[in-house]
Symmetry: C2
Subunit: 314 residues, 2 copies
């Protein structure tokens, strides 16, 4: 086994940070490393937390981590942050939070930013969670900003998914549009000291009452005021209740983890195949030339793709 893998397994934070950078960059060492770590994964409970921008997810995640820390658990946090070359969003957010939490040796926090167009954010995030899992963190919290398909896919890889709403943020139809309602195992109404909390709670209850999960779980609603540390212990209790439900529902957790594994295999396939095509079947200059031909309508994109695929021999 690689020295880095051994250091990750022993919980060495510098090695963990380096390992996550390697999976983020998609470096060739990362594959070997992940193979070594894989048998040591599957111990942590992974908790995905999502919701619209402005719902106060970062504070909620920080306070939930603090609640777990009071119980003596080691907590990993992976914050998925769409990159902003303009503002450097991920780095900024990371720094602010690092200042608050870096003094606690039982917490590891890392922002993942999506870089460029080749995607891979979902795959890199899942790999980062695997690294923290192998490193012995008891809980790994995955926090995503926004409501895009990419982020829904990411949060779906968690054992438990928490959807965060705030009172009065858009009407019911907006919440439905967000497409996140059906993935929540637990719902949080954060900023529950604000006006409109009852209306939001009722709308949510109505939405939940017209759905019925195949597994029989009824998603609970937890009201929190994260900035005042209120409701976090209840949230932690609901999370462990759902985790127990998964464990006790026989094949429930297995099926869930098999679904995650399948999703992950497909994501990895997608990324590996595209990389193979771009490495072997077409040079960057050729691709640029082809793109210009398409832009000027001298060629159509379908025949270009046919040509690249034929060159790859698929």
């Amino acid at each position: 086994m690689d020295a880095i893998a051994e250091r990750v397994l022993s919980g060495d934070k510098r090695a963990i940070a380096r390992a996550i950078s390697a999976v983020e960059d998609g470096s060739s060492d990362a594959g070997e490393l992940l193979r070594d770590l894989f048998p040591h994964t599957g111990q942590a409970l992974t908790v995905g937390i999502t919701g619209a921008p402005g719902a106060g997810k970062s504070t909620l995640v920080d306070r939930l981590a603090a609640a777990y820390r009071r119980g003596g658990e080691q907590i990993g946090i992976v914050a998925v942050d769409p990159s902003s070359p303009f503002t450097g969003g991920a780095i900024l957010g990371d720094r602010i939070r690092m200042q608050n939490m870096a003094t606690d040796p039982g917490i590891f926090i890392r922002s993942m930013a999506s870089r460029g167009h080749l995607g891979g954010l979902a795959r890199a995030t899942v790999d980062a969670v695997a690294i923290l899992d192998a490193a012995g963190y008891d809980k790994v919290i995955i926090e995503t900003v926004g409501v895009g398909q990419d982020e829904i896919d990411i949060v779906r890889t968690a054992d438990v998914t928490v959807v965060v709403l705030v009172p009065g943020m858009g009407d019911g139809v907006q919440a439905m549009k967000a497409g996140i309602m059906e993935i929540g195992d637990i719902f949080v109404i954060n900023k529950a000291d604000r006006d409109g909390v009852l209306r939001t709670e009722r709308e949510l209850e109505l939405l939940l009452s017209i759905s019925e999960r195949a597994d029989g779980w009824v998603p609970p609603i937890v009201k929190t005021v994260a900035t005042e540390d209120s409701g976090l212990d209840t949230l932690a209790t609901r999370i462990s209740e759902y985790s127990n439900f998964l464990t006790n529902s026989g094949s429930g957790r297995d099926r869930h983890r098999a679904n995650i594994a399948q999703h992950r295999i497909i994501e990895m396939l997608r990324e590996r195949l595209l990389r193979a095509a771009l490495d072997r079947a077409v040079t960057a200059d050729e691709l640029k030339e082809m793109s210009e031909s398409v832009a000027h309508r001298r060629r159509d994109p379908y025949s270009v793709v046919d040509e690249i695929i034929a060159r790859l021999g698929v």
Copy 2:
């Protein structure tokens, strides 16, 4: 040429609807159809409109379309709506809007929902825009809900990108996190009759002042109250100013369209390669079995992916 392609080119709405369904389903007929239509594309001005949920984008898009209609133009609208099996979000939204606009023969509106895990939403949306472009619509508006990477990718394929904010919706940091600031050619502050409009405008001006675009364009800010039809003509003027800027900036528009073409080629490659792997290298039952092995840590996902890729002969 196929009969459907000819009917699309003649502007037949039923044929257009059928063609879009074909690209959404990824049917094999769709490729041939798109090849036929491709030489007839590139005439429409495509306008991407994005922003966080609750910003009032649907109303804004409807009123902008109405403003264009007053000038006699034919308008296509493609609304990208993350699907919600639970609520049927896309269909609901579509129906409400169809009732208002179906009576106008100069408007074609269609919702695109993301379906399942194999992605392809971005590709299908770009194809739908191409169909409307070929069918002779003067402007095609692409509306996306939310701020995920997928949707940023989609809105990036437009000639002009409009980012919609509302007063007081989250603080500045939230707006930055959304990762949409740097893609806006024009910014709209909708619901501009609300408190906090000045603060939002100043924050936005500050953000824009610390960035400088390579092409020299300074993104204007337009204040609207879409529900009262206020500010829409100004928005239409700003959009055509940016379009003229692109045309007059020599290679600007060409470069933009070449970038879009390259992005599109890569998306199509990704989808085609994955489909080839799932069609030819692994059966659904095998994939399920492999996923269960990974979930139980009997196998690691990296060797599974290696095996599938080796079977495909890549």
